[in-house]
């Protein structure tokens, strides 16, 4: 088998048994990158030191050192997460030549484990997008069908895993940006509970919604990466923990016996894609056969979630992106006055979607509109959180599709922002409520991957991952 096709658990085991070297593993991924990245465009830059780092890991292992699970495992890192000395552009022209001065906390944690960063993953500008078409460094193509989008905004991370460029990846998820591309590319992606993973060193989109999350081929691999990056970080005041960790190498026979899986009636409506629905319900029935109990639940505020999201997210984004002023770092387009410098820098540096959301956020926060829009959205957000709190009184996880459709053709929705936004309909609620959610592959429709989304109680990734691992053993 080509080493790039291994899971993290398989590769780690082979390396521990001295049947595989990190050098051969990294070489195998680099060969795939060389062959396919030119077209797929999942990575915007490839590490020049990865092979040397792999040799160093092999030397340490040969000398008898007991290394962590991720030692020697090649990972792709989304372009909005700081890797010291690498460019960190967040897919934007305004940061095109920006070099990260420090490691994000998650990167430092993975580095300490001996993980090898193989490249920067392409993304929608500032993580604003659901298709990876709003990328300053060009459109990402879905490895399953190259005429189709990989989803977004972590489309590069998902495509890198699906194409064998890396065994795992980090993405960021503000409204579904890890889960939706995982679903469309046929890989697994987790958005942890808000606060479980430090955001220090993540270029912010909407700070009350953003979470860094892992992508990999399997839920077990995702669990391994999560266990490396989670935990309280003094540099992120919103991080908390530690919490109980799920270790797939210990739970080798995962079970769903007695687990209550909630099916939200508001998520399965007439008119939804029947093929998507059929795949998702088939996966749920398989879990039922393995001992899970299926219950209907209600999340009554669901139909308002997208509206809440498209108020809260742009409001926070317009505030976060105010820092790009041409003064301290990034693009600086000179003007005769300060005002002109700001306007020219931001006018030339931001793409259309970023400008759209900045103006929308500015509008909903401005005098006369704040109460009607932003304050109203914060109240509705609390209702959404309470919906989940109530639902989790009668179930342990909630199952739904990750995306209402399979991957669509490049260009199909690009000209219509509102239609594009609707592709996040199933994923945004987890960000608004702050709860963990994972997308796992659950079959195909017309040859294109479908994702099952499982949402869990706050900080109960353990149950979520156990159910996801069981589902993948069917």
């Amino acid at each position: 088998m080509n080493p790039s096709e291994l899971t993290i658990l398989e590769a780690a085991k082979l390396m521990r048994e001295k049947k595989l070297t990190a050098y051969d593993l990294v070489s195998s991924c680099l060969e795939r990158i060389e062959a396919d990245n030119g077209e797929i465009n999942a990575l915007v830059s490839v590490s020049k030191t990865a092979l040397d780092e792999a040799k160093a890991i092999d030397a340490r292992r040969s000398s008898g050192e007991d290394l962590p699970m991720l030692a020697g495992i090649p990972l792709a890192i989304k372009d909005n997460i700081m890797v010291k000395g690498w460019m960190a552009s967040a897919g934007s022209r305004i940061l095109e030549n920006h070099t990260a001065a420090y490691d994000a906390t998650v990167v430092a944690q993975l580095r300490a484990q001996g993980a090898i960063f193989i490249g920067r993953a392409n993304m929608d500008e500032f993580a604003m997008g659901s298709s990876s078409e709003s990328c300053h460094f060009g459109v990402v193509r879905n490895p399953v069908d190259r005429e189709r989008v990989p989803g977004g905004s972590s489309g590069g991370s998902a495509a890198a895993v699906a194409a064998g460029f890396a065994l795992g990846a980090l993405g960021s998820d503000t409204g579904g940006s890890v889960r939706q591309p995982a679903s469309l590319c046929g890989v697994t992606g987790l958005k942890p509970t808000y606060g479980r993973v430090s955001r220090y060193g993540l270029i912010a989109l909407a700070s009350s919604l953003d979470q860094i999350g892992p992508l990999a081929k399997t839920a077990a691999d995702v669990a391994v990466i999560l266990s490396a990056i989670e935990g309280n970080d003094p540099k992120d005041a919103t991080s908390s923990g530690p919490y109980e960790t799920y270790l797939p190498e210990i739970d080798t026979e995962p079970s769903v016996e007695g687990v209550r899986i909630g099916i939200p009636k508001e998520y399965f409506l007439d008119g939804m894609d029947e093929r998507v629905k059929a795949s998702v319900m088939y996966a749920v029935r398989q879990l039922e056969k393995k001992g899970a109990k299926i219950v209907e639940v209600s999340l009554p505020t669901t139909e308002y979630a997208l509206a809440v999201y498209y108020l809260v997210m742009p409001a926070e984004a317009s505030s976060n992106l105010a820092r790009f002023d041409g003064m301290r770092y990034g693009l600086s387009a000179g003007g005769a006055t300060l005002q002109e410098t700001y306007e020219r820098t931001r006018g030339e540096g931001f793409g259309a979607e970023a400008k759209r959301r900045i103006m929308l956020g500015t509008y909903v926060l401005s005098k006369g509109y704040y109460d009607a829009y932003y304050r109203k959205a914060l109240k509705a957000r609390e209702r959404i959180r309470l919906d989940f709190e109530d639902a989790f009184k009668v179930c342990d996880v909630i199952a739904s599709p990750t995306s209402p459709t399979v991957a669509w053709k490049i260009g199909e929705k690009f000209g219509d922002p509102l239609t594009m936004y609707l592709s996040d309909i199933y994923t945004i609620s987890a960000n608004l409520a702050g709860i963990p959610a994972i997308s796992v592959p659950c079959g195909t429709a017309d040859g294109l991957p479908v994702g099952l989304q499982l949402m869990g109680k706050p900080f109960d990734e353990k149950t979520l991952l156990r159910v996801a691992c069981t589902q993948q053993k069917t």
Binding site: T99, A307, G326, L378, A380
Partner: protein
Amino acid sequence: MITNEDILHLAKLARLQVAEADVLGYQTDLEAILGYVNKLKELDTEGVPEMAHADGSTNVSREDVAVVCPVDERTAMIGAFPVRSGDLLEVQAVFANRTE
């Protein structure tokens, strides 16, 4: 109802240069998005508190201890300044006309 003038005003407030040719597009997009989010008006939120943060924590503070920035990180950050004098960040004057 979002007008052309609204777009230009928002762009000004947000310090964004927007090309004349793009104004109509932004107007159409924002009109559609705001039309969609207006459905929130139907939802009863009487007596519901505003949710500010997902984990409910408030006023997290740390020890008041100075942490020294590593020299290489400091150098890299200074190196990223678009304009500088020595190690100092140079910025444009805030006021255009000085009257002394």
